[in-house]
Amino acid sequence: MFKKKIALLTLSAVMTGMLAGCGGGAEKAAGGETAEAAAAKPDKKIVIKYWYAFGDKIEEAKQHMVQTFNESQDKIEVVAEHQGNYDDLHAKVQAAFAAGDAPAVTDLEIASTGVFAHSGMLEDLTSYAEKDKDQLKLDDFIPGLMGNAYVDDKLYGLPFMRSTPIMYKNVTMLKDAGLDPSGPKTWDEFEQYSKVLKEKGKLGMTVPVDIWFYEALVAQSGGTMLSEDGKKATFNDAAGVAPVDFWKRLVNEGLIKMPVGDEAGDTADKDWANQISAFKFASTAGVAQSLEIAKGNGFELETAFMPANKDYGVPTGGCQLVMTSKSSAEEKAAAWEFMKWMTSQENTIYQHKHVGYLPTRTSAVESEELKEHFTQYPQYKVAVDQLKYARPRPMENGYPEVAKIVRDAIQKAIIDPKTTPQQALDEAAAKSDKLLGK
C-alpha cells in the first residue's frame, strides 16, 4: 500500500512537471539561442549579433548588407541570424534579453518600439545621434518615417526596412473587363470595379483580416485607432466601423473574399497571383517579388494608393534597427557603427531596389539612381508618394494585444451574420480600454 502511494506521488509529480514544464518552461526555452561561434577567436575583432526577421528577398538583402559591412572593415564582425517573423523575433529577443544573451542589434517592428523602450530593453540613441550628427544626418530621414522612432522624445530606432501598404492591380484583368486601369481611386469606385469584375466571374480582391490594412481604412475614413493619450480605444467610432461595414457588405455581395485563419494572407496572394482577384493590398516590400510573379504569369502589374474614403491614408510599417541596452560599451560602439552602415543612403537605395521597401532618406529619393529607377519601374514609386498620407502606428504597451482583439472582432463580424460591426467593435473597445487604461 505504502509503495503504491509513493508511486502515485512520484507519478503525479512527474506528470504535473511535464505539463508545467511546458507552461513555465516555455518561458525559459527560447533563451538558449547562443551562437557566438566566433567569440572564442583570439584576435581583437569585436563580434556582435544582429537578429532579423523574414526570408526570401528580404533575407538576401540583409545578408548581403551584413556581408559587405564585414568585408568593409576589420574591427567588427557582425553575425546575422534569422529569427522568423516579427512576432517570433520579438519573443526571442525578449527571452534572450531576460537570459542576458540579447543580440546587440535587432530588427524591431515599429509598433513594438513603445513596449521595448518602456521595458528598458533598448539603448537611448539620442546622444549617439548627437555625437555623429554630421555623418548620420538624422534630418535626411523622411520625416513621415520618424514617428515611431521616438518614445517619450528619446530616439530609439533608425528607420530601416520601412513600408506602407499599397494596392497592387492586375491591369490586364482590368482592361479585359473594360475598366479604366488608372482607377479605382475611392471606395465607391472600388465597389463599382468589383461589381464589373464579378460579372466576369472574378473577384475584386481577396484580403485577409489584417490589423495593418484595417488601420489604413480607418485612416481613410478620418478616424484613429486610439485616443490621443493612448488610454482609450476609438476604433468603435463611426470612422472605425465604416471599414468593417464596407468589408462585410462587399463580402456578402460576393465582390471580395475575406478568408480568415492562419493561411489567409497566403490565400490572398495566391488568388491575386492566379488572377482570381484583380487587386491585393500588400506591403510595398512585395514589389520586387510581385513584379516577378506578374511577369511569370503573363499579366501587367501596376501599383496604386489604397483607395480613399474621405481621404487617402495609410499607416507606415516595417522595422527599424534598435540597439539593446545590456551590451558592453565596446559592443554598443560596434553596434552603432553597424546601424549607421545599414541605414546609409547607399544601403537604403540598395534594399529598396532589391526588395521594394521604402527608401528611408530624402537624399536617396532625390538621387539620380532612384529617379532613373522610378521612371523605369513606376511601381516602386507609389509607396514613396503615398507617404504624404502616412501616419505612425500606435505604440502603447498594450497595443499588440489590442491588435489581436480587434482582429478577432472583425473576423467575428464578417463570419457571423448575427454580429454587426458596431457590436463587435464595441465589445473589442471595452476589452481594449481595460488594457490601455493600465
Binding site: L11, S12, G120
Partner: protein
C-alpha cells in the same frame, strides 16, 4: 556502515534529482511566485499584485473559452485516438504482408516531426487550394472551411492529432493483445464465447492496463497541445482553437504579460494535478493487474 555506504545511494540518484529540481521543481515554484506579480520579464521593476492576475483570468471570457476549447479538444482526441487504435489493433493483430504494411503505414506519422505534419496538413486543409477539398469536390460535395471557420477549426486539429497518434497507440495495443496468454482464448472458445463477449469480458479486462496507460499518455499530450496550434491556427479564427498552453505562450511572449501567463500556468498545473490524482484513484481500482 561507513559514511560512504550510507551516502552512496543518494550520490547515485543525485544527478537525476538535481536535473529534476532545476528543470521541473524550480520553474514550478518560480512560476507560482511570478503569478503574484505584474511584470513583463525584462523591466527592472516587478509590481506585486497579489491574486489580481487570477481574478483577471477567471473573469476573462476568453480564458473560459480557452478552458472549454482545451477540454473539448482533449476529450475528443483521447476518445477518438484510443477507440480507433483499439479497433485497428484488433484488426491488425495477425501476421501477413498486408497487415504489416498497414501497420507500418499508420505508424509512420509518429516518427515525423509535428512541425512538418502541421505544415503538411495546413496545405491539405487549405479551403481553396487544398487536396482534401479537391477530393471532397470529386464526390460532388461543397467545400469545407477546415481551419478557416470557428465551427470546424477545432475538430480539424483533432483530426491531425488522431492521425498522428493512431500508429503509436495501435502498436502499443497490439503489444498488449499479444501479451494476453493464448490459453485464455482457448478456454473462451471451449466455452463457445461469442466474439463480442470475448471482446468485452476477456480482451478489454486483460487490456485494461494498456488502455489505462494510453489514456493517461494521450490525456497529457492533448492537454499540452501547442505546435499544431502555433503553426496552423495561432489560436484563431476568433479564438476558436486557443488552448491553455498556447494561451500561456501568447500572454507571455506576444503580449509580455509574464505574471498573467504564470497565473494561467498555475491553473494548468492545478487542473492537471487534480486530473492525475482522480485518474489514479478511479482507474487503479478498475484496472486488472496480473
Amino acid at each position: 556502515m561507513t559514511v560512504w555506504e550510507r551516502l552512496r545511494p543518494y550520490s547515485m540518484v543525485a544527478p537525476a534529482i538535481i536535473v529534476f529540481a532545476m528543470f521541473f521543481i524550480y520553474p514550478i515554484f518560480y512560476m507560482m511566485y511570478l503569478s503574484l506579480f505584474d511584470w513583463n520579464f525584462v523591466s527592472p521593476t516587478k509590481t506585486f499584485v497579489g491574486i489580481q492576475n487570477f481574478v483577471d483570468l477567471l473573469s476573462e471570457p476568453d480564458f473560459r473559452q480557452v478552458l472549454s476549447n482545451t477540454t473539448l479538444y482533449t476529450v475528443l482526441t483521447v476518445t477518438l485516438t484510443t477507440g480507433l487504435s483499439l479497433f485497428m489493433a484488433i484488426w491488425l493483430n495477425r501476421s501477413g504482408f498486408f497487415y504489416g504494411l498497414v501497420q507500418g503505414a499508420i505508424f509512420s506519422p509518429h516518427i515525423i516531426s509535428l512541425v512538418s505534419i502541421s505544415l503538411l496538413w495546413s496545405w491539405l486543409m487549405d479551403p481553396e487550394y487544398g487536396l482534401l477539398n479537391w477530393v471532397i469536390g470529386l464526390f460532388g460535395f461543397g467545400k469545407l472551411e477546415w481551419l478557416s471557420h470557428p465551427s470546424t477549426s477545432l475538430i480539424s486539429l483533432v483530426i491531425v492529432a488522431v492521425w498522428k497518434g493512431l500508429g503509436y497507440n495501435t502498436l502499443v495495443f497490439i503489444a498488449g493483445l499479444q501479451s494476453i496468454p493464448q490459453d485464455i482464448y482457448e478456454a473462451a472458445s471451449l466455452d463457445r464465447s461469442r466474439p463480442w463477449t470475448t471482446f468485452t469480458r476477456l480482451i478489454l479486462p486483460m487490456l485494461s492496463p494498456t488502455i489505462f496507460f494510453l489514456v493517461i499518455i494521450n490525456l497529457i499530450g492533448s492537454f499540452q497541445v501547442f505546435e499544431t496550434i502555433a503553426i496552423m491556427t495561432q489560436g484563431g479564427p476568433v479564438n476558436s482553437t486557443n488552448t491553455l498552453v498556447y494561451y500561456i505562450y501568447e500572454a507571455g511572449f506576444r503580449f509580455f504579460k509574464i505574471g498573467y501567463a504564470s497565473a494561467a500556468g498555475v491553473i494548468l498545473l492545478f487542473i492537471v494535478g487534480i486530473l492525475t490524482i482522480v485518474y489514479f484513484r478511479l482507474l487503479s481500482s478498475r484496472v486488472h493487474y496480473r
